[in-house]
């Protein structure tokens, strides 16, 4: 009996130590959206490869709906229970970094060189990168050629300046049953994004090179004036519309122009005769685009920061990232043969890819939502006719300085 007890005891000890020796440490990763998009199996394949190379870790990927995923990661982090790695809008990186919740990403010169400078700019401040770009988009002006023709406009000569944009919107509104321009002015982030596309195309800024707010400028007054002038030639009640709702109107041919990403082409019926052109340039600038990236951010105090960074770098390695971009249908983050193949197969991508070097980032600030609220309120005030563009821009600047 004694012998049996000893054997059993030895077995338990051996089992315990064996378990201890091989217990892989869990790495919690939060992804936005669900696990049904075409890029997810591609990503999972690379995660499995990384785990194979790093057997001391397991990766638990949690998919959280878009509306809550960023808030979930930020709330977990501020409560002291951060995920190891999370998919975040790059706009949140400064807020996370200044609150000491994420770690900077050390990039080698070779890694830095693999990104176009404006793209790296979406994740960098104070000379450091705080995330690895994971998804990327640029914007262009979509227009309906049939409505242009009906309005007496040349469908092969889309607007290239603010004045031409306004004139085209006016012509379509007055000569067809559709609205000339699709304007987003709802209390929503892409209301600000739509404005920033026009703002960058007129040489404007929200934050200058020294990190100071520079919203109250002649450039931005001009852009806000364009918004004011376009409002009567937009869909009725722009304040009720965000970009998603405008996409429905564009597909229904109820608006003739809107600024959007390449994905709009997947959402419009075949009978819509569309054209794509760069965002028209303002009198003080040249055509540009807002560059939006989402990033993988490594959170502090997860206990596995080094491994999380290693995984993030593995997933965003040029080849792996390109495979993910192509599978998801995202604008490719890096250049390369795959981009050439993409362009050869679908020329509509060229407007979105050519504009990258001229684009501007989402401003990195300490309180992104406060900035968004200030700018959206200015836009809504102008659209509703409650304030003039110069006053709207001035008040927004004051609000930005106060809330930050």
């Amino acid at each position: 009996m004694k012998k049996l007890t000893s054997i059993l005891g030895a077995a338990v000890v051996a089992g315990t130590s064996a378990t201890g020796a091989f217990a892989a440490e869990p790495l919690h990763m939060i992804m936005c959206g669900d696990d049904t998009t075409p890029g997810i199996p591609v990503q999972q394949g690379f995660i499995d490869e990384w785990v194979e190379q790093n057997p001391d870790f397991t990766v638990n990927v949690e998919y959280v709906p878009w509306g809550q995923c960023q808030e979930k990661s930020m709330t977990l982090a501020s409560a002291g229970n951060p995920p190891a790695l999370a998919y975040m809008g790059s706009r949140t990186l400064k807020q996370l970094a200044t609150n000491g919740l994420i770690v900077p990403v050390d990039l080698t010169d070779e890694e830095k060189a693999s990104y176009a400078a404006p793209i790296l700019g979406t994740v960098s401040f104070d000379g450091k990168a705080w995330g690895l770009p994971r998804a990327f988009s640029t914007k262009a002006l979509f227009y309906n050629k049939a409505l242009f023709r009906e309005a007496g406009l040349d469908p092969e000569s889309p607007p290239t300046t603010f004045d031409e944009l306004l004139a085209a919107a006016k012509a379509v509104t007055e000569n067809t049953g559709a609205a000339g321009y699709g304007m987003a002015a709802a209390s929503f982030d892409n209301t600000m994004h739509q404005f920033l596309n026009l703002m960058y195309s007129n040489g404007g800024q929200v934050v200058d090179e020294d990190g100071n707010f520079a919203f109250d400028s002649e450039n931005n007054i001009q852009t806000m004036t364009l918004v004011q002038n376009l409002a009567p030639y937009s869909e009725p009640g722009p304040v009720a519309y965000n970009r998603g709702k405008l996409e429905t109107l564009f597909a229904e041919q109820k608006i003739s122009m809107m600024i959007d990403g390449h994905w709009l082409l997947d959402r419009i019926p075949d009978d819509v005769e569309w054209g794509i052109t760069p965002v028209p340039a303002g009198p003080m600038g040249s055509s540009s685009s807002l560059l939006i990236t989402d990033s993988l951010a490594v959170f502090k105090n997860s206990g596995v920061e080094e491994a999380a960074l290693s995984l993030a770098k593995y997933l965003t390695d040029p080849d792996h990232q390109m495979a993910f971009d192509i599978a998801e249908g995202y604008t490719p983050i890096r250049e390369g043969k795959a981009v050439d193949d993409l362009l050869a197969g679908d020329a509509s991508w060229s407007t979105f890819i050519d504009i990258v070097s001229k684009g501007g980032p989402e401003p990195l600030v300490n309180d992104y939502v406060a900035m968004q609220d200030a700018i959206v309120e200015a836009i809504q005030g102008v659209v509703l006719g409650e304030v003039e563009p110069d006053e709207a821009v001035e008040v927004a600047q004051e609000e930005l300085e106060y809330v930050q």
């Binding site: 501020s78 709802a186 209390s187 009725p236 009720a240």
Partner: protein, 295 residues
């Protein structure tokens, strides 16, 4: 000869312990913690410092009085409409007419349907291009073109109230219907024998008898309406230009969207204070009316 003192029976107190513990944990502790946080600069930053009354000063220095006024306007209009429509519905459902049971069932969907789904449906109805309200308005000549109800300050404010009334009325109607059915029938029979008209019977018998139920329901409805979040958030997120930002929306935006837990807690504390004062005043008014014999 003094009687020996009776030993305290601890058993009943022991039975109360679980309830007291649960109340402390789920009510008292969060309230105390919210109050504590309201005096701190708690945010996304793990380091927190006490800042005294700074959060309250900041709150009043901004547009808070405007938000409070809007919240009470939203609550008063919404509750009044719910009580009036609910009372009318209860009277109709209480009437001895054919199909009454079916009508009692048909009034329930707004209350039974998940709020989010109901509000999304209203959101589409308010849409100018595809919504039925704008379409109907154009068809009968009230509107000259598509009208976006959520795009303008006043129409958005009223649209959120209409949706709230739609969702909140069935409960009021059913509650008042139950109160009406508990009124003794002999009171009506006696009044009828004396030749009292239908309206007289309603005014002098039904209304006084259901007044306690109306008082309770209006207070509960006021508290729910004051704290209503999902209707406004789904329809307008507090816009346009804060025209539908009530205290609860302002608190959410501050504490959750912007991660300013300290400032958000100060707003939450103000909600508790306002609702407490409102409830006390309300009960005082009810007591006064009861003494005067109005109830």
């Amino acid at each position: 000869m003094s009687q020996p003192s009776k030993p305290i029976d601890w058993f009943p107190y022991l039975l109360l312990v679980p309830a007291v513990v649960i109340t402390l944990v789920i009510v008292a502790w969060p309230l105390a913690e919210t109050l504590r946080l309201s005096f701190t600069d708690a945010s996304m930053n793990p380091e927190t410092h006490y800042v005294g009354l700074e959060n309250y000063q900041k709150m009043f220095a901004r547009n808070f009085p405007e938000v409070v006024g809007r919240t009470f306007a939203w609550m008063v209009i919404g509750v009044t409409l719910k009580m009036v429509v609910g009372l009318l519905a209860a009277v109709l459902l209480n009437a001895a007419v054919p199909g009454r049971t079916l009508m009692r069932i048909l009034i329930m969907p707004p209350w039974i349907v998940p709020i989010a789904i109901g509000v999304f449906i209203w959101g589409w109805m308010y849409n100018g291009q595809f919504g039925m309200i704008s379409g109907l308005g154009q068809r009968i000549g009230l509107l000259s073109g598509p009208f976006e109800f959520l795009a303008f300050k006043n129409s958005a404010f009223m649209a959120t109230i209409v949706t709230d009334v739609w969702i909140g009325t069935p409960l009021v109607a059913v509650y008042l219907l139950a109160a009406m059915q508990s009124v003794p029938r002999d009171l009506y029979e006696a009044a009828w024998t004396d030749g009292a008209s239908r309206f007289y019977r309603f005014r002098r018998i039904t209304m006084p008898m259901i007044m306690p139920a109306m008082a309770t329901m209006s207070l509960l409805s006021a508290i729910w309406t004051f704290n209503s979040f999902d209707i406004i958030w789904i329809l307008t997120e507090g816009g346009p230009r804060n025209a539908t930002t009530t205290m609860i929306i302002d608190t959410y935006k501050t504490a959750i969207s912007r991660f300013r837990y300290g400032e958000g807690s100060a707003r939450a504390v103000m909600i508790v204070i306002f609702l407490t004062i409102f409830s006390l005043l309300y009960f005082a008014m009810i007591r006064k009316l009861s003494k005067k014999g109005a109830m």
